[in-house]
Every structure is written in C-alpha cells, then in structure tokens.
Symmetry: C2
Subunit: 270 residues, 2 copies
DNA sequence: CGGCGGATTGAAGGGAATCAATGCTTGTGG
DNA sequence: CCACAAGCATTGATTCCCTTCAATCCGCCG
C-alpha cells in the first residue's frame, strides 16, 4: 500500500485530482436503479459517466454464439464509462448486479473537468488500474485452472473492497450468481459450482448465497502462482466516513444452505 | 473508420495531440535493440516510454507455475509503457520480438507533455484502445475455442496493421513463434500448431515461417462470433510516408515449408 | 557436421463442457 | 395459507477439446 508505487512527483496531484473529481460527482443527484438494469448500452450516443455509490455493476460482451464474457466488475467508489469520455460509442454494456446507487456526469462535463491536470492524471490512473485488472483476468483465464481462477478472483475482490474501505473482516457480500462468476472467469455455471464445492471441502473459502467467507487466506493465496496485487493508491472516490459498506449485513435471515462438508464433518458436528 | 466514433468535439484535438506527441518522440535518437531484448523490467524504477518505430514487441506476465501470458502485442506506431507515466513500478515486462527500432522518452517528460490537454486526451485514448484490445482478448480466451481465437487474433492483427498504414494486401509478417502465439491466446504451442494446420486445410489462412497469408477473409470472419473491431481513429503515430512497412519483404528466400494440404491437394498438384 | 530452436505429429490422459435431472428459496397469486 | 412458478444451486453421466509426453523433422548457424 506504499505510495512509493506511484511516481512521487505526482502522488499529491493524484490525490487532489481524485478529491476534486469525487466532489463533482457528489454534487449531482443520487440515482437508484434496480438489479439487472442496463446502465450503458453499446449503441448509445454520448453515454454518461457514473460513480458507483452502492452496489455492484459489471460490464460484459455478448457473443453471437450465445456466450457472454463479463470483462469488468465495478464496486462502490469505481467510475464506470470512462472509455467514452473520448470514444463516443461505448464498446460494451453495463448492467447493475443488484440494486445500485450512483451519481452521473455527462462525458462532456468530465472532459471539461480534465482541464484540471490533476483530474486528468487521476482519470488516466483509473484507466491504468482498470487495464491492469483486465490483464490479470486475462492472465488467469489463459494460464490457470478453475480452482486457481476462483481463488484469484475472490482474493482480488477482497483486496479491492478493502482498499475502498468497504470491509474489515474476511467476509463480504458478493452479489453475483454462479453463472455470472462463470461468465467472468470463462467457466460454466456448473463447473463454478463444482469448484466452489472443492474449495469448501478444502476449507479454503465458503461462498453461500452471495456471501463470501474466506477461511484460509494463505491457502487461497498459494493458488495464485505469484499473481500479485500491485499496491495502487487508495481510492479517494469514497467518502472518508464509510457510509456504504459491503460487510455482511447484520442479522442475515435464513439458515445456511445444506452443503457438503469434508468427510463427515457436517454430520459429525450435527 | 468514421470519425463519428469519436466525440466530435475533440476529434481535432486528438489528432493534434497525437502529432505533437509523435514529434516529441521523433525528436529523440532512434535506438535499435535485438530480438529477445527486454525493454522494461518489472522492478525497474522510472522506466521510460517507447515509441515503436520498426518491429514487434510484446508484454507478458510470468507465473510461478512456469506458464506465461502475453497480454499485449505492440506494433510500429504503438507506444509502450504508458502505464508507468503515473505508476512508478511497471506491472509487467516488455520484450522485443525480433529486431526493434524505437524512440524513448522519460516518464517525467511525458508527464510534462501532458500539460498540453490535447496530448492528455491522446494518451487517454491510447490507454482506452489498449484496454479494449485486452478486453477483446479476454473475451475470446474466455468464450471461444482455439480455431476461433486464432482467427480473431489474425484478423485483429491484420486490421491493426492496416490502420497503422503498414500493409495493403492480405499478407504480412508476424514475427512470433507458435509458442508465443499460444502464450497470447492461452493455448499450448502444440495445439496452436494443430489448429493452424486445420485452418490451412480449410483454406482459411496460411501461416508459414512468420508469414501470414489470409486466403478467405470472410471465412475467417465467420469464426469471430460478432467480435468487432471498433472504428478507432487512425494512428497518427506513424510518419505519413510509410517508411516502415510490415508487408512481405520482397524476395523472401527459401522455399515453402512442406505442409499438409487438404486431402491430396498437395500431392495432386505436385 | 553437430547442435539448436522451432515446427510437426502421434498417443494417452485430464479438465471442463454438455446434457439432464433434482433440490432449494423466494416471491406470487389463488 | 398453501400451491405454484421462476431462478438459482446441486449433482451425475458422458463427451470433447486441449494438454501432456514423447519422438521426429526441418532449417539455420557456428
């Protein structure tokens, strides 16, 4: 997390630019959309830019063979749609995964803000970070197996949520179905399910009904083959007081789904 | 290729910024490095930014399990290392695929240039384009089979080289080994070889000793499942007079490698 | 000529997809 | 209040694409 990983000369500028950019977003009215809503369509002209305040969204690309690839997942504090600040036509769609709160700015408003060089730097660094994310995803999908892909995904999401100040412990909400996880990792929903069972039986991580519980952090990390999280600058896009948290909602109703445990553990303890 | 795909208000600025940026690079001495040279190391501090003038380079990520993923391929006119204009520590390495000519600028020099907002826009658009490339790669690797991945790769490279004004016909040099192609597409070199044979037997494309010959453009395109090339702005990073071409070198020495043709065709015509 | 990197091909094995059926939860309407 | 439907999760059986392992071949170079 050391800021040494940013060019020292502009660390301060990046922070300042981030704060100014956030202020511009917070100056707009908060919108709320329901799960499954499409935020940005591919053929939309002059699509706006969004700051996610609460909830998750994802960007995907549909193929003509009926398959889908989720190429990026956005969490609170992320900005969606920076591509078409310059490119008029969005290259892929955005969809809300669950309910979403957000602030919107027009692309031209963002371009105007970029007259402030600190904001320009900040936006470029956000693009670089998003690019790094998708490069890591491509690497894992290209060269790792299902178990390792899921471990990389879970730990990456964990670290990202932490960096945004959204969680403290080892559990968090992940409002994605197994099918969406598969679309993000290049797997079928069936195989995601089987692999999650493996990880559960190995006591590495439990994902039950969109709740992730990391049981063995180091065990998961050992599946990553050295794929590291670069120490990016803490996101300044979230308010200092962590109003919007992704921690486990208190008093989650309903009991745990019946699930296979390592040889007889579940039965023995019952 | 319509500029309608860029926000009209800044089309001119993007072109101007590109020209200014190119001029700054061309103002430096041309360097030449041999094939296999490492341009940027991961732990290098203040790595420079390169404009590729001649030859190909690629960026890769090595995993601890011995596997490698090539996440981007750079062609003449591309700029390598824009990430660490802001992030001090590069996130992956650059290597020359074959001999390479290039101009270098320090990261701080590029930051200074970014005081010109047109250059800022241009660099952001280059980042967006690189991000789009890796997103398309991730999509194909996630959701397409070997034959389709290779078709997407070949056509994408073809269109990119054309956009840079480096080729006119349907043949071009591709200075990558089959192993490198596999590392880029998430396949083994063995399977790349087999798949290339398939494509050759179907008369779609012939790749022999780093020379690509597209035999059936539409046939290849039908393998893409709708993955399209967004109409990005023509690269202004190459001189108007196409000094550096990637067309087939005239008078290529040596005969064609013996290769399997569709059922008996080779033998019949021999 | 021998060595070497890259390309080629065969045989065997494995990981994931596909096909198909069932169970669990939640929300809806009678 | 319960039946019912829809969406999601779970699991088994089978198939297939790709990997792995291994051997050979080709062209190039010292």
């Amino acid at each position: 997390m050391s800021e040494q990983n940013y060019s020292g000369a502009i660390t301060e500028g990046l922070l300042t630019g981030g704060r100014t950019l956030r202020a511009a977003f917070l100056n707009t009215a908060v919108q709320t959309v329901g799960g499954g809503s499409t935020l940005i369509r591919v053929d939309e002209r002059d699509a706006p830019v969004f700051l996610i305040r609460r909830g998750f969204a994802y960007r995907f690309c549909d193929l003509e063979n009926g398959r889908r690839a989720i190429v990026d997942i956005l969490i609170p504090g992320d900005i969606a749609g920076l591509d078409h600040v310059l490119v008029a036509r969005p290259v892929s769609e955005f969809t809300a995964a669950g309910q979403l709160s957000l602030n919107a700015l027009s692309a031209s408003a963002v371009r105007t803000l970029m007259q402030d060089q600190n904001i320009s730097f900040r936006i470029l660094s956000l693009m670089a970070e998003a690019r790094w994310r998708i490069e890591r995803l491509a690497t894992t999908v290209m060269r790792m197996e299902a178990r390792e892909r899921i471990a990389t995904f879970i730990l990456g999401m964990y670290q990202r949520l932490r960096r945004h100040g959204l969680i403290n412990g080892l559990s968090f909400n992940l409002p994605l179905t197994q099918e969406q996880i598969g679309d993000h990792l290049g797997l079928t929903d069936v195989h995601v399910n089987r692999t999650l069972r493996q990880l559960r039986e190995k006591q590495l991580v439990i994902i039950d009904r969109q709740v992730v519980m990391i049981m063995d952090f180091d065990g998961l990390r050992s599946l990553l083959h050295g794929i590291a999280e670069p120490a990016y600058m803490p996101s300044p896009m979230m308010p200092e007081n962590n109003t919007y948290r992704a921690d486990l909602a208190p008093g989650r109703r309903g009991s745990c789904r019946k699930q296979t445990m390592p040889h007889g553990v579940g039965k023995a303890s019952a």
